[in-house]
């Protein structure tokens, strides 16, 4: 079996950082009121999607190459919505969006797609 590309390790690290930032922002958004649930829920969505993207970059990739980019795309979309609605701090939202774009680019990289599709065909 081919060695795991180094870019996948970077992708996993970035995905975990994005997810941890999402969890932190959802904790910040909680104001002990029902009204703050929209903000908490959207921030949790950001965290979940970034953790899902990080999961794509593990050694035994669970989904096909293009699906990883789709996951990263939805993670970026949820961070963008948080920016548009003013739920997340502007700086943090921009960091999340940059991480999301990097994840899309890593998932679209031909070596990563070849490795992931190779692993899945062996299984």
């Amino acid at each position: 079996m081919a060695n795991m590309p180094g870019k996948m390790k970077i992708g996993m690290g970035l995905g975990l950082v994005g997810g941890i930032l999402g969890i932190a922002t959802s904790a910040i958004a909680w104001e002990s009121t029902i009204d703050s649930m929209t903000a908490v829920g959207l921030n949790l969505l950001v965290a979940v999607m970034f953790f899902a993207s990080a999961g794509f970059f593990q050694k035994n990739a669970p989904v096909a190459g293009t699906t990883g980019a789709v996951l990263a795309g939805i993670a970026t979309a949820s961070a963008f919505v948080c920016l548009v609605m003013g739920i997340m701090g502007t700086g943090l939202a921009i960091v999340e969006i940059i991480i999301g774009i990097l994840l899309i680019l890593i998932a679209a990289c031909p070596t990563v797609k070849r490795y992931v599709d190779g692993v899945r065909s062996v299984e």
């Binding site: 929209t38 959207l42 969505l45 190459g65 293009t66 980019a69 789709v70 990263a72 795309g73 939805i74 970026t76 979309a77 949820s78 963008f80 919505v81 548009v84 609605m85 899309i104 998932a107 679209a108 797609k113």
Partner: protein, 199 residues
């Protein structure tokens, strides 16, 4: 098996011009209409305002919709499966957009929300069909951009006001269309045909 290249470049260029016209129209119309507020107004509100932006918006939206109509027709005629449906939904969305502009100019009525919803449903369907087509062709970046567009539109529809979802969703559609047009203008699509079938 013989390889045939489908040239969609002219339609891609028409789409890029449409995106450019749309962007210029939105910037000019919104800047010249101080009553228009993001989050409280839809795109249609620019067209029935009493300011100078009304005519600019109407002309710009009709030109860009006509060019997008050409792009959608080209995609529908030269593609199969999901690509065909993507083109069909773009055409339907643009016909409704042109109808909406003329209806507003003719009647001056602000009650256009039903037509707005129909337009947005057609555009969302076009993006979903385009995402499926890109996924099947292995165009990873385009699929991710489509997923981004669909994600932003649907999350905003659930979490925000319909006015915000309308404006951001329409802009997201144009961003996705720009990506698609650049791709189809620069990379010719390859179709493999059976020799027996071509005879």
């Amino acid at each position: 098996m013989s390889e045939e290249k489908i040239n969609l470049a002219p339609f891609g260029i028409a789409g890029m011009v449409a995106v450019f016209v749309f962007a210029i129209t939105v910037v000019i119309a919104i800047c010249s209409d101080p009553t228009w507020v993001f989050g409280e107004n839809t795109f249609g509100d620019i067209e029935y305002s009493n300011s100078d932006s009304r005519l600019v918006a109407a002309v710009g939206f009709v030109i860009s919709a006509a060019l997008m109509l050409i792009t959608g027709t080209g995609i529908a005629l030269k593609s199969k499966g999901a690509g065909f449906w993507c083109g069909v939904f773009i055409v339907l969305g643009m016909i409704c957009t042109v109808a909406n502009v003329f209806k507003i100019l003719d009647m001056g009525s602000p009650e256009q929300i039903a037509l707005h919803i129909i337009i947005n449903v057609f555009l969302l369907a076009a993006v979903i069909a385009g995402a499926v087509a890109d996924y099947q062709k292995g165009r990873t970046i385009n699929t991710a951009v489509a997923a981004f567009t669909i994600g932003v539109s649907l999350i905003l529809l659930g979490a925000s006001t319909i006015e915000t979802a309308d404006v951001v969703g329409r802009i997201m559609f144009v961003v996705w269309l720009a990506f698609e047009c650049v791709t189809i203008a620069l990379i010719p699509e390859k179709v493999y045909k059976d020799e027996a079938e071509s005879c």
